[in-house]
């Protein structure tokens, strides 16, 4: 198989098919998770989940072709490289598509595809306004909700016009 070296924080780490990214992020220090040799192995979905537990939205970037990758994988779906690094999103996005799901019992709930500023698209939901009022093009911001099965990434509308810049910066 193809072998590559990660080049994160000056360290090199050879991959032989298993993932060895540390499932976390450096608080207040950059947005890219660091791969290190003593890190516990983490499958892509596990790393994503650990970011969410920390209140962050993790995604991958291909170090070979610079493609943003979501959902998380072991190789880049654009160029095939296994040299992926993790980053976290600044959390700002725009609704790409939206639907309000109706059921016979209960209020309609929203399901949306959100385009994040970093260039990834994900399924999520927009909360804070009625499901039917979520519109394509609406600017939204990432938040985490604790649910029975664990933390979930959701979005809330951003004030329009945009609020003054806050501390969060988009990754990379």
């Amino acid at each position: 198989m193809r072998r590559r070296f990660f080049r994160c924080s000056g360290e090199s780490y050879r991959t032989v098919g298993a993932w060895s990214f540390r499932g976390g992020y450096e608080e207040g220090k950059g947005e890219i998770a660091v791969a290190s040799e003593d890190a516990p192995a983490g499958a892509p979905a596990e790393v994503y989940g650990r970011y969410l537990e920390g209140g962050r939205l993790g995604f991958q970037r291909c170090r070979d072709c610079s493609s943003m990758v979501f959902y998380p994988r072991v190789l880049c779906p654009v160029c095939g490289s296994v040299d992926l690094e993790w980053g976290t999103s600044g959390g700002r996005g725009v609704v790409y598509a939206t639907t309000a799901v109706h059921s016979r019992d209960g209020e309609p709930y929203n399901v949306a595809l959100v385009d994040l500023e970093e260039g990834i698209r994900m399924m999520s939901r927009v909360e804070g306004i009625p499901a039917e009022e979520v519109e394509v093009g609406r600017r939204v911001r990432f938040e985490v909700r604790e649910e029975d099965d664990g933390p979930v990434a959701v979005f809330v509308p951003m004030a329009e016009p945009e609020e003054p810049e806050e501390s969060e910066e988009p990754a990379r």
């Binding site: 598509a97 939206t98 109706h102 979930v152």
Partner: protein
């Protein structure tokens, strides 16, 4: 060598349709349809040496089918790409026959989803990253695509409703259609919302049903009971499985499968007399008319309006009444082939399109995911 015109559909049949009642199994419906298709073709069961199927009921559908029917095939293909699978099977069967791997292919399908619960029976898994948001599979995914098309091109719910109304007008001409009563744009708009902007009448039926299609070489086809319906061209493409991974929700992979099929067939959309487009939801017809070259991208809403795809309109689309009004037994692709073959043979009675020498069949699977196009033609198109 191009597969153009080298294999033909020689027998088609539906199983019992609509609501078959408790007791019958999907394999029973496959058995019914196979028996009828063999009779249609003038073939015997012993002639069949290739089996093709996909199923939400049987994990190994060609094995189950072979055992039930008492057929030991020398070629077997259970390609599973959702509702489009059966159009793909036609393509694969033609190539296999041309390569000498089998001589008579049986493509068959059955579902009892209406009698056994009234909801879509699906083996589709949910992407773990998306399960928490509880999209209603598959309607919410199509609703997302509709919302984007409306945003980019100003497509309206009224225009989507026109698709359902046109399908109903065709269904009124088809005695086998499941629903044949009057339907207006207002009826669609006023019907119960499922996943906005799609209401229940923007969604396909949930019926029982199945069908069978027999395919053989063009040489052998000419000696059989009915006029051969030749496969002139086919193309298949898929770009995603999950809707979040679809590059542009207003452009399906039909924009690739269609041109492939046209190139092989050596004709274009202007030559198509009847178009059978997989209408699981009203937005499908709009997207596929655009992607298959019947109108420009974004113009599908206008194209379907004002009765232009209804009986007597500019283009005959979904002449059986479609998945919206005829039957939609979980996966609908096989029934597209049945109607296309009958149109090319001129067997469609009141709904027959005059001079239907070229039929375009377009199958869709997953959530606008797999797209398979096939061009069928009569003897004079060879």
């Amino acid at each position: 060598m191009s597969p153009r015109g080298r294999a033909a559909i020689v027998g088609v049949a539906e199983s019992d349709l609509g609501e078959v009642g408790p007791g019958l199994t999907p394999l029973d419906l496959i058995g019914q349809a196979t028996f009828r298709a063999l009779d249609d073709a003038g073939l015997e069961k012993e002639d069949v040496d290739g089996l093709f199927s996909a199923s939400a009921y049987y994990h190994m559908p060609t094995l189950s089918m072979g055992e039930y029917l008492g057929i030991r095939p020398r070629y077997s293909d259970a390609t599973s790409m959702g509702g489009s699978s059966f159009v793909s099977h036609l393509f694969h069967a033609a190539v296999a026959i041309d390569a000498g791997l089998c001589e008579v292919a049986l493509i068959a399908y059955g579902s009892t989803q209406r009698s056994s619960g009234g909801r879509l029976v699906s083996g589709s898994e949910t992407l773990p990253y998306e399960a928490p948001y509880r999209p209603r599979y598959p309607v919410s995914m199509y609703a997302l695509a509709a919302s984007r098309h409306m945003y980019e091109y100003g497509t309206t719910r009224e225009q989507l409703a026109e698709v359902a109304v046109a399908a109903r007008e065709w269904a009124k001409l088809n005695p086998k259609a499941f629903v044949r009563d009057d339907l207006s744009v207002e009826d669609v708009l006023d019907s119960r919302m499922i996943s906005s902007p799609l209401s229940v009448l923007d969604c396909c039926l949930v019926t029982d049903g199945g069908g069978a299609v027999l395919v053989t070489s063009s040489e052998r086809a000419r000696d059989l009971r009915k006029p051969p319906v030749y496969l002139l061209g086919a193309g298949e493409a898929h770009w995603h499985r999950n809707i979040s991974q679809m590059p542009d929700l207003t452009v399906s992979a039909a924009a690739e499968s269609g041109p492939q099929a046209y190139r092989m067939a050596k004709l274009g959309p202007e030559a198509v007399n009847v178009a059978l487009l997989y209408d699981a939801f009203t937005i499908n017809t709009v997207l596929f008319l655009e992607d298959l070259g019947f109108c420009e991208k974004g113009e599908g809403g206008a194209f379907v309006s004002g009765g232009r795809i209804s009986p007597g309109g500019e283009l005959a689309v979904n002449t059986n009444g479609g998945g919206l009004s005829y039957n939609h037994p979980g996966m609908y692709g096989l029934l597209l082939l049945v109607e296309a073959a009958r149109q090319v043979r001129g067997e469609c009675g009141e709904r027959q399109v005059a001079g239907a020498n070229v039929a375009l069949v377009h199958g869709n699977g997953g959530v606008l995911s797999s797209q398979v196009s096939a061009v069928l033609g009569s003897e004079e198109t060879l």
